[in-house]
């Protein structure tokens, strides 16, 4: 009887995605940022072990990998919560009242931008500009752009996340 290969673990599948990106770019050191994007997508954040592995594979010093990972806003070195609330802090949103939204969330959930609630449910993030200025103030609530927000509306959505 033919024995099939054991199924890939979740970890192996993730690492395969990362190697695919590196291979596509010929393991060139300049593919570092592209690779980190894939790591972030696959793992949700950049953890130290994976950063080391990427450094090895691309022949880039770990210090440089860490330097790049911490320079850009898109990368995070901490795991995120189950739900993500990204508040737009662009000019149009600021003019139309994004500060009250931010204050409402920080006060209710005791988290600052970049932090996650203790139960790991909600991560609060800010974005420079979503480019959805006609919907200001806007936010991305779990992958969905929602516009013309009020503090009450945002708090309602976050409350639902916790109860579901």
């Amino acid at each position: 009887m033919m024995q099939s290969a054991p199924p890939l673990s979740a970890e192996e599948k993730r690492w395969r995605m990362v190697t695919a990106t590196m291979r596509k770019n010929g393991y060139a050191p300049d593919a570092l940022i592209e690779t980190l994007h894939t790591v972030q997508n696959a793992y949700g954040y950049l953890d130290t072990t994976t950063l080391r592995a990427v450094a090895n594979a691309l022949h880039v010093p770990p210090s440089q990998v860490y330097g790049v990972a911490t320079f850009y806003h898109a990368f995070t070195l901490k795991p995120e919560g189950r739900h993500r609330c990204i508040l737009c802090q662009g000019t149009a949103c600021y003019i139309k009242g994004s500060q009250p939204l931010l204050e409402a969330i920080t006060k209710t959930y005791h988290i600052e931008p970049g932090e996650t609630t203790e139960d790991g449910e909600i991560s609060l993030l800010t974005a420079r500009c979503l480019g959805s200025c006609s919907l200001a103030p806007a936010a991305i609530l779990d992958h969905e752009v929602v516009g013309n927000l009020t503090p009450e509306h945002v708090l309602d959505v976050l409350k639902d996340w916790r109860t579901v």
Partner: protein, 556 residues
């Protein structure tokens, strides 16, 4: 289903164009649904699906639904437009699909109709946005039908690189990324530079908060940008190019990837373009959220996989850029202007705009204004035409207080100066800049000190930290502004701020630091009384800042 277009030659283009036009004409009605990011986030994809389902249910054969790019009036989205009737429907919900289909060929659905003889539509001149809202950005045939890639064919078969550069120079086109450097001059410098390899870069790292022009162009007409880049590559002698695009724009990235794949298959990109000996490969690089990467040397560092920190110039990228090779960097909108200039001639382009700023400019109109969205006006259009006529003024009967252009590197222009024409020189004279095209309108509820603080916070946290004046200067200016809005500042702090502005402006390494004081300087110049009110009387004329803590401390 039609087959994907394969390996084209210059002679094939008119044939493909007429075939696509004939196909389009075979439909009695075409329903355009905006599928750019603004309308999509208001469920325009479901509107499109429902329209298709209704057509199928009613058994109508001579009608099709087409997803198109941005139609401009984002505040009235989702937008749906009928052809050939030219009826425009606004705020269309998925439930409205049935009514729209039932009224086809009859009087339009009155409750959804959007007037199109308004200044918003009549006072614009659309060159860059000519195809936005008209073509399906995901179909190459649509692009070719409206003349796409015909200028590339013309350039490759009839013109020498120098002739192309001469035409661009003659047109007077200036960089649309903000600084306004003459495009033709940039091209000729790179063309003359010595180097075995040369690169073309498209800067699509639209970092200004409140600006979404480049995203809309890429989402609505990606082939136009690719054509412009390829013509640039031919002119300067490059065979490789990069598009550096923000990772925050997933839809633009997807459409650009599709466009690159289609163009490569049709031999409009890649090896032996249109059957000639010219090769040009385009790669995409995703930005990772750093405003400073809009600066060209920082952008190059980022493409090389490094931290996006600028380096001193000279040498300019035109001589030593990506991997130390001569590199041409232009903005999305600049490339989008190339094909129309060659199609209509440089004299036509030079006839639009003012003496020193030619052509049109796309602006993202947002903030406290009735019509928010994407507009394109000739250079030299006065601000009040944009705000009062095209934008239809300020909502809720409020008064305009200031207009902000150029993002964190620009300034605030007070309402008294709304007769200022929008061109590079006039905006500079007002202490602002053209910038990439974000235009934010503020009413009396905005506190100008707090606005300056908002932008300083941005510059402070986006400073890459390489040079001291920018790293420390922006932090100190932010601290001083915080003291002012909290009522802790003295008049000496205001003098200190003024001095800091000068120092940071004169001594910073790159444009981010050099321009960071602009929002502060312009508000201190035009709204000095607001600063004084905060410092001396502890009051905020806009009623935004709270001085509660100060009062309590005073009582203790």
């Amino acid at each position: 289903m039609t087959h994907p277009i394969q390996a084209l030659t210059p002679d094939d283009l008119p044939r493909v164009a007429s075939e696509a036009q004939a196909e389009a004409n075979s439909f009695e009605h075409t329903i355009h649904v905006c599928t750019a990011a603004g309308c999509l986030s208001q469920r325009s994809d479901q509107v499109k699906q429902n329209l298709e389902r209704e057509i199928h249910a009613h058994g109508i054969a001579h009608c099709r639904v087409k997803g198109v790019g941005c139609m401009g009036l984002c505040s009235a989205g989702p937008l749906v437009s009928l052809r050939p009737e030219k009826t425009l429907y606004q705020k269309v919900q998925p439930e409205d699909a049935g009514a729209i289909i039932e009224h086809l060929g009859n009087a339009p659905v009155a409750r959804l109709e959007c007037e199109t003889d308004r200044p918003f539509f009549t006072q614009q001149t659309r060159i860059v946005l000519a195809n936005s809202g008209e073509i399906d950005p995901e179909r190459l045939e649509d692009s070719i039908a409206v003349g796409g890639y015909q200028q590339l064919a013309h350039v490759l078969t009839d013109l020498s690189p120098n002739q192309v550069i001469e035409q661009i120079m003659h047109s007077g086109l200036r960089g649309r990324g903000g600084a306004g450097y003459p495009t033709g001059l940039k091209w000729s410098t790179v063309a003359k530079a010595r180097g075995e390899r040369k690169y073309v870069i498209c800067n699509a790292d639209e970092g200004d908060p409140g600006a979404f022009m480049d995203r809309s162009v890429l989402e609505s007409d990606p082939h136009r940008v690719l054509e412009g880049m390829t013509i640039a590559a031919y002119s300067i002698g490059a065979s490789e190019g990069y598009i550096y695009i923000r990772a925050e724009y997933p839809l633009a990235i997807k459409r650009l990837q599709t466009a690159i794949r289609q163009a490569e298959r049709a031999q409009l990109l890649g090896r032996n373009i249109l059957g000639t000996a010219f090769n040009f490969h385009v790669h995409m690089r995703l930005g990772a959220g750093a405003y400073v990467c809009g600066e060209e040397t920082a952008l190059i560092a980022s493409i090389e996989g490094k931290r996006g920190q600028p380096r001193p110039r000279p040498p300019y990228p035109a001589e030593s850029g990506l991997w130390h090779s001569p590199t041409l960097i232009n903005n999305v909108e600049t490339y989008a202007n190339i094909a129309p200039i060659l199609a209509h001639g440089p004299d036509w382009f030079a006839g639009i705009g003012t003496e020193r700023s030619k052509g049109t400019k796309v602006f993202a109109l947002a903030g406290k204004i009735v019509n928010t969205g994407l507009i394109e006006v000739p250079m030299g259009t006065p601000l009040h035409t944009i705000i009062q006529d095209i934008g239809e003024g300020i909502p809720d009967g409020q008064r305009c207080k200031a207009v902000q252009t150029g993002g964190p590197s620009g300034g605030c222009i007070p309402a008294d100066y709304l007769d200022t024409p929008v061109d590079y020189e006039s905006l500079n004279a007002m202490g602002s800049i053209m910038g990439s095209g974000g235009m934010i309108v503020m009413d009396e509820h905005s506190c100008m000190v707090d606005v300056a603080r908002f932008f300083m916070e941005f510059s402070m946290s986006e400073s890459c930290g390489k040079c001291l004046p920018c790293r420390m200067g922006t932090t100190e200016m932010y601290e001083l502004l915080t003291r002012i809005v909290k009522g802790h500042a003295s008049l000496a702090d205001l003098t200190l701020l003024q001095e800091l502005c000068e120092t940071v402006k004169q001594t910073s390494l790159c444009g981010l630091g050099q321009a960071a004081p602009n929002p502060l300087l312009s508000t201190m110049k035009y709204f000095n009384d607001e600063y004084l009110a905060h410092i001396i009387r502890h009051t905020c004329p806009a009623g935004l800042c709270h001085f509660a803590e100060t009062e309590q401390e005073a009582q203790v």
